[in-house]
């Protein structure tokens, strides 16, 4: 019997699990330290742990869905395969020449990311396809063999092949791939027509290179993961969340891993959207802070914006063009190198600095007792009394307060003359400010005002820092959903498994043969259905991409199941024009309308999660009190500590207070007011005087307001 759905999110520091019983809707969660050398082993350990309470969990699992930040971390830390690039001869510098433009017109000193393949590993093959797809020069196979020889001598581990116009005619690219495969059997290959079959050589080449760079690592652990699950009795397909919240099979994820670069953050966005819908929070700013990074995303009208102009490894966080393009659809979110594991140090100017590098899970923060010597945000939070050394992961992991204090004393106090507590308060403040200054620009660029956004906090470190961040940003309210410490894995289950299939048409709509279109839709739908988990109830959505002939960007219009009635064309044109006018105003374009492509989305219905509501019927008393650093004015004070599962619906708590749960801790500041809502979420209204304080905001007027 298929009964369970399991979500697994592998982060840089922790691996989170959520299990939902599809019949009762009941949810269970688990959280474990990620093994940095073999993350898939952590998954198996976690599965075994869950199986202790639910013995047949995997054999009765309907689907296992996976997301990860491992791929992004490989790119950020430049830990991927040594990669070579084979291009059309005469064009080996496409990757470095890029778009020849400065991403900031007023900054002469902009920095650009290093190309992922250095010039001496960019080689050319004699071949040429024309824009029409016609072969001008057939592939000179000897030139590919010669390149293979150089790659071999340089110990290249992965090769990206990107020939001009391969999206029109992939024959030369395919043949070059075959030759490389036979010459270099152990080398990983990515072919541009498979990774991103679209024109614009730089974007396609860059995407293919990134794909090749991460593929070895992705393949390795995804294979191990599939095997491990299978050996524990899982019989169905392993699914992986795409960077835009859609679904891929593990086979697709392995063959084009660049598509899952942002799968972990996407799962977080899905979770936040789920709670947003459930509780009518709109617009919101989702705030997911884990061990390595923090992710922020604006969710408006129930959905997060998506973009196709994604870039990895941006030199300048906010500037489009300052990173390496990966042309895959992603959620448009902000990612910052700020997490529990972010390392604090004193720089050459004698100033304290936090992140962006993280201690990860190995060695991890000093307090993990795994021989980490450098102080981290988690160490600071522990010293400030925000974290309970005996209740981290519900006591499964003990935190070593002395080790944390030692690390802070030895590195930070030593160089700044601050007491360990003062230094720890500084670390907490700086990491919050780092996130706030990035968030201000992100929020402004999306045309939003922080004062209108509720901050929805999750991830292991999210609720610890949420109130501090909200105060700096001027968000009036913070919401901490249940299971906030493992929300991303819950997000994997909150989103339906959904496959998108599309077909390029590029014909004037009036000339399109509807019988054929009808047939294409049927094929696409078949294809998508075949990928879905067995026995799912399925929803089908069909769309047409229309534009005026000659434009690049189509509008996606929802349609009914198509017939072969010619009247359809007028209907589609009508819907397109209405939407075009709505978006752009009426400009009466006279060019004919073109059908760019057709799409089918097959998905499960919105899943049902029955997240246990608080069962307590009377207000909980604090389970303890402890010394907690409240603010620079108050210093350390004795503060009540509540157990989250003890709280009852409607309970009201005035800050300062601490609410602990197994996977996270919510830190409530002086004067903040917490209420437990009927979904079990903690709703915290920030103390009036503390939001938008002149002082913090004047400091924060970042970037460009000049002095008057």
């Amino acid at each position: 019997m298929s009964r369970y759905r399991l979500g697994i999110d592998i982060g840089g520091t922790f691996t989170d699990f959520s299990l939902v019983d599809a019949i009762s809707g009941e949810v269970r969660v688990e959280k474990m330290l990620t093994s940095s050398s073999a993350p898939e082993k952590t998954v198996i350990q976690g599965v075994d742990l869950l199986s202790e309470t639910i013995p047949n969990m995997l054999t009765e699992a309907k689907e296992v869905i996976h997301a990860t930040t491992l791929i992004t971390n490989v790119i950020l830390e430049r830990k991927g395969s040594k990669t070579g690039l084979l291009t059309t001869e005469g064009f080996t510098d496409i990757l470095e020449i890029a778009r020849e433009v400065r991403y900031d017109i007023f900054d002469m000193f902009i920095r650009l990311p290093e190309p992922m393949v250095p010039r001496n590993l960019r080689l050319g093959a004699e071949e040429r396809i024309l824009a029409s797809g016609m072969v001008l020069n057939p592939l000179n196979e000897a030139s590919v063999r010669k390149a293979a020889e150089i790659f071999r001598e340089a110990d290249v581990e992965a090769v990206a092949v990107a020939f001009l116009h391969s999206y029109q005619n992939s024959s030369n690219e395919i043949r070059a791939g075959e030759i490389l495969k036979s010459e270099l059997p152990n080398v990983i290959l990515s072919l541009s027509h498979e990774v991103h079959p679209e024109p614009k050589e730089y974007e396609r080449t860059s995407t293919t290179v990134i794909d090749a760079y991460v593929k070895g690592i992705a393949e390795g652990y995804l294979d191990q993961l599939s095997e491990g699950l299978k050996s524990r009795g899982y019989r169905n397909r392993l699914f992986v969340m795409l960077s835009n919240g859609g679904t891929a099979t593990v086979e697709t994820a392995k063959s084009v891993p660049v598509q899952i670069v942002e799968s972990g953050p996407a799962a977080g966005v899905e979770a936040a959207s789920y709670f947003g819908r459930l509780m009518n929070i709109d617009p919101m700013l989702s705030f997911d802070m884990g061990g390595t990074t923090a992710k922020l995303c604006i969710i408006e009208n129930g959905r997060a914006a998506r973009t196709r102009t994604y870039e990895v490894d941006r030199v300048h966080r906010f500037k489009m063009g300052s990173g390496l393009p990966a042309a895959v659809p992603v959620y448009d979110l902000l990612e910052i190198g700020a997490g529990g594991g972010s390392i604090a140090r004193v720089n050459d100017l004698g100033l304290m600095q936090v992140g962006p590098d993280s201690s990860g899970s190995d060695p991890g923060p000093a307090s993990y007792g795994l021989n980490g010597q450098e102080p981290t945000v988690t160490d600071a939070d522990l010293l400030l009394g925000y974290l309970n050394p005996d209740y981290f992961l519900g006591g499964q992991m003990r935190l070593d307060r002395d080790a944390a204090e030692r690390a802070i004393r030895n590195t930070l106090s030593e160089k700044t003359g601050l007491t360990p507590i003062e230094a720890a308060a500084g670390v907490h403040e700086i990491v919050n400010e780092n996130m706030a200054s990035a968030a201000r620009v992100y929020v402004a660029e999306k045309g939003q005002a922080p004062s209108k956004l509720s901050l929805v906090a999750f991830g292991g470190a999210g609720p610890v820092h949420a109130l501090g961040l909200a105060r700096k940003l001027g968000c009036p309210k913070v919401i901490v959903p249940p299971f906030s410490g493992v929300m991303s894995s819950l997000g994997l289950l909150a989103a339906p498994v959904a496959f998108e299939r599309s077909r390029t048409i590029r014909q004037i709509l009036r000339n399109v043969d509807l019988t054929k279109i009808h047939e294409f839709y049927r094929e696409l739908e078949q294809e998508a259905r075949s990928l879905m988990p067995e026995g799912s109830e399925l929803l089908v959505r069909r769309t047409v991409d229309l534009r005026y002939s000659g434009q690049d960007y189509p509008l996606e219009i929802d349609i009914e199941e198509p017939t072969v009635n010619e009247k359809l064309k007028t209907d589609w044109e009508g819907s397109f024009e209405a939407e075009y006018n709505e978006l752009y105003g009426k400009v009466d374009d006279e060019n004919p309308i073109e059908l760019a492509s057709i799409r089918v989305y097959v998905s499960q219905p919105m899943p049902h999660l029955d997240i246990a509501k608080p069962t307590a019927t009377t207000d909980a008393e604090p389970k303890a009190v402890r010394d907690v650093y409240v603010s620079s004015e108050t210093g350390t004070a004795t503060v009540p500590v509540y157990e989250r599962t003890d709280l009852c619906i409607g309970q009201l708590i005035m800050g300062p207070a601490i609410v602990e749960e197994r996977e996270s801790t919510t830190v409530i500041g002086d004067g903040d007011k917490l209420t437990v809502n009927n979904r079990g979420c903690l709703e915290i209204d920030l103390a009036k005087s503390s939001t938008n304080t002149k002082e913090s905001d004047d400091q924060s007027i970042n970037s460009y307001i000049g002095e008057s």
Partner: protein, 576 residues
């Protein structure tokens, strides 16, 4: 309403978001790669006094000093009281708007609650305006295409078809050009909606208070930065490279004077107008003269009217830097793109850390191709390629990076889809970067070939390739700065023969055009460059072993690619 600093910050960002959204609307609904990829356009928002408050961040530097004047010129002809909701005004007059006929400006008033609260303007460099197209040879404006005087293109939401008919009848690719004109209206619509939403959301009646804050803060920020410079006058007089087909010698005399919190850039003594298509309008000169001041002193403040106020540009009428109608202007960037480096060179000694060595691709390259596809349809395509970026006190120059205009290249695959041609080569040119403690970026070698046509139609292709015209041994090489060497590499060939740039040439199938864009200038003494950096350049193929020795005094053993430390020390001593 009294605006506090926090609200100003939010609203200011929002004004920029609004014009950037307008630019996105433009790109999404445009038809030609010159808008979609090349980004030669701008979208701007003005208050009721026609003060520019925000300017799209995707744009080219040339619009900087132009945009505010266009709006003021429009309002002189059509004062606010004569405007109705749904009106749109158009022109391509070089002296009223942006300096050549190929740029079309369209402005719209923004009405909110029955009164004008501001204006929006979108300028686009179009694909075609008729005439003899993109050549330096035109002697006056009338050869250069159709001129559109200031006219109402839309009256209360109704298009004046006559204007469109006139344009349509005079140009080669009307579907695309008229499509792009509509995209400009989209930009204005999006901008209008954005501003109205903002006013509603913040319950504002108008932009006056916010506009005054934005402009005042920008202006005073720049004034403060200028005050930090020593008062004085700094000169730079140059003789520009010869313009193909033009007998006149062209001199630019520049004197930059810093007086307290103002900068005066005076071009008195520069050459008179010429009978070639390179004459600048005053506003064009103002754009590229103000730009380097902002770049060097106050780059992080968004662009608006306030940033232009502390800078005065003096250019006597009738000179090549302030031409009069009907001078020919198509290739005005042949001169205006040089102003930033002319200014930097003059100020080399007073602000050595915030200037760049010359860019190998400046004045910008432009390639035009016009002909028929095999099915008889006309095509017209623009492409652009950049040279090496100039080095600075801090950094090596990047290879093939645009300056000063900052337009994106049009991908090879896009151009080959538009025009009947294919590239055979486009790669970095080793050894082209000017040597220096920091090296200039590499330039590139580009080669393309004409594809077979259909003899039923004219199957030749008309093409012009405009280059900088700068050569290593000429009067105006790609200068290094503070002891750095000049950028290298230049030239253009048709089927292997040296030819002039910037003029039209008829190309038959299989004809081959080749050209080189120089590397950027170097910065500082090349003999001081760390040997490890020189070695890395050699390993990566940016610098040859021979040039490592000749330019940097670094001796590298070719067999093991290692520095011969002793030989290097000796050689560097000898060269010093």
């Amino acid at each position: 309403m009294q605006l506090d600093p926090v609200t100003i910050q939010i609203l200011w960002s929002r004004l920029i978001t609004i014009v950037d959204e307008a630019a996105t609307g433009l790109m999404r609904t445009a038809y030609t790669p010159s808008v979609k990829e090349y980004h030669d356009f701008c979208c701007a928002l003005f208050d009721t006094n026609a003060q520019m408050l925000s300017h799209s961040t995707v744009t080219t530097a040339g619009f900087l000093g132009i945009v505010p004047e266009v709006m003021r010129n429009f309002l002189k002809k059509h004062p606010p009281e004569s405007l109705k909701p749904g009106d749109a005004i158009i022109t391509n007059d070089p002296w009223i708007a942006s300096g050549h006929l190929i740029d079309i400006s369209i402005a719209s008033p923004i009405f909110h609650r029955d009164k004008i609260v501001g204006y929006t303007l979108c300028i686009v460099h179009h694909l075609d305006m008729g005439g003899r197209m993109s050549t330096l040879e035109s002697k006056d404006m009338y050869e250069e295409g159709l001129k559109i005087p200031i006219l109402k293109l839309f009256t209360e939401g109704t298009l004046d078809q006559t204007i469109f008919e006139f344009i349509k009848a005079n140009i080669r690719v009307p579907d695309k050009v008229l499509g792009d004109l509509r995209a400009q209206l989209v930009a204005n619509n999006v901008c209008t909606r954005g501003l109205k939403n903002l006013l509603d959301e913040y319950k504002l009646d108008g932009l006056e208070e916010l506009g005054a804050e934005v402009i005042h803060r920008t202006e005073s920020s720049l004034r403060k930065k200028i005050s930090a410079l020593p008062n004085g006058s700094y000169k730079n007089n140059v003789l520009l490279p010869k313009i193909p087909g033009c007998e006149d010698e062209i001199r630019i005399n520049a004197e930059i004077t810093v007086i307290d919190d103002e900068v005066i850039i005076d071009y008195s003594g520069s050459s008179g107008e010429v009978g070639a298509a390179i004459n600048c309008s005053y506003n064009m000169t103002r754009s590229y003269s103000s730009y380097p001041i902002k770049l060097a002193l106050d780059p992080y403040i968004p662009n608006n009217d306030g940033g232009l106020r502390p800078i005065k540009v003096i250019a006597p009428e009738g000179t090549v830097v302030n031409s009069r109608p009907p001078a020919a202007t198509w290739g005005r960037t042949m001169i205006s793109h040089l102003f930033p480096e002319i200014v930097f060179a003059a100020m080399e000694n007073i602000m050595p850390d915030t200037i760049l060595a010359s860019n190998g691709g400046s004045p910008a390259n432009e390639v035009y191709l016009h002909g028929r596809h095999t099915d008889g349809r006309s095509f017209m395509a623009i492409a652009q390629h950049s040279g090496g970026f100039g080095a600075s006190a801090q950094y090596d120059g990047y290879s093939c990076l645009c300056f000063p205009n900052n337009t994106r290249n049009i991908p090879i695959e896009v151009t080959e889809n538009e025009a009947r041609m294919y590239y055979t080569h486009k790669e970095l040119l080793p050894d082209s970067g000017g040597p220096g403690f920091n090296r200039g970026g590499l330039g590139q070698k580009v080669e393309f070939c004409i594809l077979d046509g259909n003899k039923e139609f004219a199957h030749d292709v008309e093409s012009s390739v405009r280059l900088s015209g700068r050569t290593e041994d000429g009067t105006f090489p790609v200068f290094g700065r503070c002891g750095g060497g000049n950028g290298r590499g230049s030239g253009m060939w048709a089927n292997g023969e040296t030819v002039d740039h910037g003029i039209y040439r008829r190309l038959s199938p299989n004809d081959k055009i080749q050209f080189i864009l120089s590397g950027g200038g170097g910065y500082g003494d090349a003999l001081q460059r760390e040997t490890a950096r020189v070695l890395e350049d050699v390993v990566q193929g940016y610098v040859s072993i021979e040039n490592a020795k000749k330019d940097y005094g670094v001796v590298i053993n070719p067999n093991v690619l290692e520095v011969d430390i002793q030989a290097t020390e000796l050689l560097r001593k000898k060269m010093a």
